[in-house]
């Protein structure tokens, strides 16, 4: 009798236990689904807002490269060609296209074209100088307002005074569309140009290069220092109070808000050492300081993971401590240190606050070619564009977020690849 009661108890408890299992499984599953859903929503928002930035609107113009209008001759040198009056042929082309425009309307119509249209007309001519005195069909970039209208990002059914384009301009745009003189193509400017006041010709190339130079500086500064510091702490430092204090403070440093490092850069690097403002050199130095603790912690972990038997083996054949460490321990820890460094770099790539402090938030309309040239960085560029009132910049900022995400994704992929490729199992 007693026995069967005990058995029943066991069975009912067993049911309860397996129910617990099930419940926990569903909790976990729900948590995962929730986080995935948030991620998907985030990516969807970014993508749906940003994908249009990869396209631009172009308009077909019939350009007459008349030598008198250009003030050039077929024998003009290249230097002279550079100075040709291309804005006049553009004006002429517009006037020819809409023959019965009043003077005030010409101004309105000119606003349908990008400021860069003159350059495009010029570049075409410089590439093909033989077209002088001929008429050419040339696609030129449309103004961002037209671009946004045709992409459906700005609406035409709002009152005129709240629109960028007035009714007259709209009717001209419609005319262009009707005559199939408008189309959307891949926006190469987004990848080849730096920031601009004009959304249609603003690109991420400048800030991308800025970020690249900054990361390069971070890597050059932080990798050797981190390796040196972690090798010393792990292999050579005497185990005493001071070492312990240093170790604790490295961990503390990893938690210091990044803007504090920005202040350090502003106060010390810019004001005391007088390094050039807004440059990848300063930005990289500040970010290197910020990521150093992270990298040191990762380096030390991978140095610790090398089995001591390898070092003992080297010491036992008479290697000095330095030889044992640098011939055996460090090479074995290298994949781990590299992975840690890349993760540190990824952290640096997304950091905005310290760069704002050292002036990398300046408007830089050209692509930097060196460490000491003023430049922007991707996260700061996003910040700048999000802040801009122009509608054209909204899609640009979403697209720039995509660029930075892909950049990050690739860096992490490299880290994973390195880890899988070189990781050793003992």
């Amino acid at each position: 009798m007693n026995n069967s009661v005990a058995k029943e108890k066991i069975v009912s408890l067993r049911k309860k236990r397996s129910l617990e299992d099930m419940r926990f499984k569903y909790y976990g599953f729900t948590a995962m689904c929730l986080s995935l859903a948030v991620l998907v929503f985030l990516l969807y928002t970014i993508f749906s807002k940003g994908y249009t930035a990869f396209q631009k609107t172009i308009v077909l113009l019939e350009v007459d490269y008349n030598q008198d209008v250009l003030k050039l001759t077929p024998d003009s040198s290249e230097e002279e060609m550079e100075k040709g009056k291309f804005f006049r042929v553009k004006k002429q082309a517009i006037e020819n296209f809409f023959p019965d425009l009043s003077k005030s309307d010409i101004k309105l119509v000119k606003k349908l074209f990008s400021i860069n249209a003159d350059n495009e007309i010029k570049d075409y001519f410089l590439d093909n100088p033989e077209v002088i005195n001929t008429k050419q069909q040339i696609w030129v970039t449309a103004h961002s307002d037209v671009d946004q209208l045709l992409k459906g990002n700005s609406r035409r059914d709002v009152p005129e005074d709240r629109r960028k384009l007035n009714d007259i301009q709209l009717s001209y745009v419609d005319q262009l569309v009707e005559e199939n003189r408008v189309k959307q193509v891949f926006n190469n400017f987004f990848f080849t140009k730096a920031d601009s006041r004009h959304p249609e010709i603003a690109g991420v190339a400048g800030s991308f290069m800025g970020s690249l130079f900054t990361l390069f500086t971070v890597f050059i500064l932080s990798f050797p220092i981190a390796i040196g510091a972690s090798v010393y702490l792990e292999e050579f430092a005497p185990k005493n109070r001071i070492t312990e204090l240093i170790e604790v403070n490295i961990s503390n440093l990893a938690a210091v808000p990044s803007i504090v490092f920005g202040l350090l850069g502003l106060g010390v690097l810019l004001n005391v050492f007088g390094l050039p403002r807004s440059t990848p050199l300063v930005g990289g130095s500040v970010l290197a300081l910020m990521t150093l603790p992270t990298i040191i912690i990762a380096c030390r972990a991978s140095l610790k993971a090398v089995p001591p038997s390898i070092k003992e083996g080297a010491l036992a054949v008479g290697a000095t401590k330095t030889q044992a460490v640098f011939h055996h321990v460090v090479p074995l820890a290298l994949p781990g240190t590299l992975t840690g460094t890349i993760i540190g770099l990824a952290q640096a790539l997304g950091e905005t606050a310290p760069l704002i402090m050292i002036g990398m938030i300046a408007f830089i309309p050209n692509i930097p070619t060196g460490l000491t040239e003023p430049s922007a960085a991707l996260p700061v560029q996003i910040y700048l564009w999000v802040e801009s009132a122009e509608r054209g910049f909204q899609e640009k900022s979403a697209a720039a977020i995509m660029v930075i995400l892909i950049f990050l994704f690739m860096m992490n992929a490299i880290a994973v690849f390195l880890r899988n490729r070189f990781e050793r199992k003992w």
Partner: protein, 253 residues
């Protein structure tokens, strides 16, 4: 007494405040195999690691007393540990080849000590060391493969070859067969028997049979003390001390 290679005199070892060895005195003869036996934690490995100063790696370890190798004191701050270790090779409990090629494993020692001038010399040392370790025939076609790809027994012989390559006089073996199967163990034991002709060998072992098979002298450690030392034959047949008697007959340990 003239051919005494290692002379230990009242060696004490402390790990922090805990004393691990109590006044060990020992006389190890040249070109003999000396086995250190005893239950776990009796200090035999600790003593072995004093001889090539491997205990330096353990920060809290303090060694006092005197150990003389070829009449030179080695428990001293003035001892050149690096050249001491090139004179005294060591083979560890678990095979620990470097994660490099078989060739590089053996070549590492001679290279860092500058024992060779040319590639040919190096190759000769590597080959002869592998031959002495009885491994050459098995690996001669794949010297460029990683040392870690070998079997456990082969890895251990590779470690022996690595130790031999720097031309030591003494080889310390810390339970070299504890991670190996019986066949690999037999091969290593045979090898030890051959190496005895050229090297002074000290081997720590848990297996009394192994001690009986390979050694000429046996030292029995218990709780950090050297209980008895003598000819292997005598220790295993007619020990003076009852503790030794109890241990070798399997009453404890």
């Amino acid at each position: 007494m003239s051919n005494s290679k290692i002379l230990a005199n009242s060696v004490d070892v402390y790990y922090g405040s805990k004393q691990a060895l109590f006044g060990i005195s020992m006389d190890i003869k040249e070109k003999e195999v000396t086995a250190l036996i005893g239950p776990s934690g009796c200090g035999k490995s600790t003593f072995l690691r004093c001889i090539n100063r491997m205990n330096d790696l353990i920060e809290i370890c303090k060694v006092s007393g005197s150990i003389k190798v070829d009449n030179e004191e080695i428990i001293s701050d003035k001892t050149d540990v690096v050249s001491l270790r090139s004179k005294i090779g060591m083979v560890f409990q678990k095979p620990n080849p470097f994660p490099k090629s078989i060739f590089d494993n053996v070549a590492y020692g001679p290279t860092i000590h500058g024992l060779v001038d040319s590639k040919n010399d190096l190759e000769e040392i590597v080959h002869s060391s592998l031959k002495k370790a009885g491994l050459f025939d098995e690996v001669k076609d794949r010297l460029n493969e990683p040392g870690t790809s070998l079997s456990g027994g082969q890895q251990q012989r590779l470690c022996i070859a690595r130790a031999i390559a720097v031309n030591p006089e003494i080889i310390l073996m810390d339970e070299p067969c504890s991670a190996l199967d019986p066949i690999a163990t037999a091969i290593i034991e045979e090898l030890i028997d051959e190496l005895r002709l050229n090297y002074t060998i000290i081997i720590v072992t848990h297996s009394m049979q192994q001690a009986a098979r390979v050694s000429q002298k046996t030292c029995f450690f218990h709780l950090g003390e050297l209980i008895e030392t003598g000819e292997t034959n005598k220790i295993f047949t007619n020990p003076d001390n009852t503790k030794t008697q109890d241990y070798i007959t399997g009453r404890f340990g």
